[in-house]
C-alpha cells in the first residue's frame, strides 16, 4: 500500500542530529516506495540556501532528493520576501507555491511529518 507522506520543514538549520534524522525518515519512506513530498515553510526556507561552504549545512542533504525520485519539493511563497530570499538563491530545487496550493497539498496527505 502506498501512503502519501508530506515532510514539513519549518525551522532554520539547527545544531545536532535532528536534521539528519528528519532526512533519514524522508529518504527511507521514499526507498520504501511511499509517495513523498517536502514543503518548506517559515524559517524552513533558510534550509534552501547555502552559506560560504556549499557542502555544509542541510541543503546538501536535500539536494539528494531527485536521486530518490522525490520531486515534489515546495516552498511556501509567502516565506520568501519577508526573509529577503528569492528562488534564484536556492541550491535545492524547490518550487514556490501559493497558500491555496499548500492547503491542497496538505489535504491530500495520509501522514505529515514535522521537522
Amino acid at each position: 500500500m502506498q501512503r502519501r507522506i508530506l515532510f514539513i520543514v519549518s525551522h532554520a538549520p539547527r545544531r545536532g542530529a535532528l536534521a539528519a534524522e528528519f532526512l533519514d525518515e524522508l529518504l527511507i519512506a521514499a526507498a520504501f516506495e511511499q509517495k513523498v513530498s517536502v514543503l518548506f515553510v517559515g524559517d524552513g526556507a533558510y534550509q534552501l540556501v547555502a552559506g560560504d561552504d556549499p557542502a555544509a549545512g542541510t541543503a546538501r542533504g536535500y539536494r539528494a532528493l531527485p536521486t530518490y525520485d522525490v520531486e515534489d519539493v515546495f516552498v511556501e511563497r509567502a516565506a520568501l520576501k519577508p526573509r529577503g530570499l528569492t528562488a534564484a538563491r536556492f541550491v535545492v530545487a524547490a518550487r514556490p507555491v501559493a497558500r491555496s496550493r499548500v492547503r491542497r497539498l496538505i489535504a491530500a496527505q495520509h501522514v505529515v511529518v514535522p521537522d
Binding site: E21, D24, E25, I28, A29, F32, Q34, H110, P114
Partner: protein, 130 residues
C-alpha cells in the same frame, strides 16, 4: 481504527511523552488499537534503563512500560537515534564494545523501516513533537 504514535521528545525536557501517553490511554479506552508507538529523536531516551527518576516525580517511562505491557502495545525505538543517544541493545553493546546493554523492557530497538511500516499499516499517525 489502527493508530500509530510517534514520540519525538524525552521525558526530562519535554511534555511530549506524557501527552502521547494520555492520548494512547484515551484511544485504547475508546476501543481503538495502537499499532505501534515509535520513539525517535530525543524520544529514544524513554528506553534508557539507566535513568534514575528522582523520588516523588512522575516516571513517564515506567508508565509507558506498564501501559504497553497491560495492553500488549509495541514500544519501538529507532536504532540510529538510540545509538547517538547512548541507548544500546545487547547486539549493539557487543558490536560497539560498550559496557552493557541498557534498553528498558519492554521497549525494543528497531530499524527506521518500522516507522514506515507503521505509516503504511495505520489509519492515523499522530506525532508528539519535542
Amino acid at each position: 481504527m489502527n493508530i500509530s504514535i510517534a514520540v519525538h521528545g524525552d521525558a526530562a525536557d519535554s511534555e511530549s511523552p506524557s501527552l502521547a501517553l494520555r492520548f494512547a490511554r484515551a484511544a485504547v479506552a475508546k476501543g481503538h488499537r495502537i499499532h505501534r508507538v515509535f520513539f525517535y529523536h530525543a524520544g529514544v531516551g524513554l528506553a534508557n534503563a539507566l535513568v534514575v527518576q528522582p523520588q516523588g516525580e512522575t516516571d513517564v517511562a515506567a508508565q509507558w512500560a506498564a501501559f504497553a505491557e497491560e495492553h500488549d502495545i509495541e514500544l519501538a525505538v529507532c536504532v540510529a537515534a538510540a545509538l547517538r543517544r547512548g541507548v544500546l541493545s545487547n547486539d549493539d553493546a557487543e558490536r560497539y564494545e560498550r559496557s552493557g546493554p541498557n534498553v528498558r523492557s519492554p521497549f525494543r530497538i528497531v530499524g527506521l523501516g518500522q516507522w514506515v511500516d507503521a505509516v503504511v499499516e495505520s489509519d492515523r499517525v499522530v506525532t508528539f513533537t519535542a
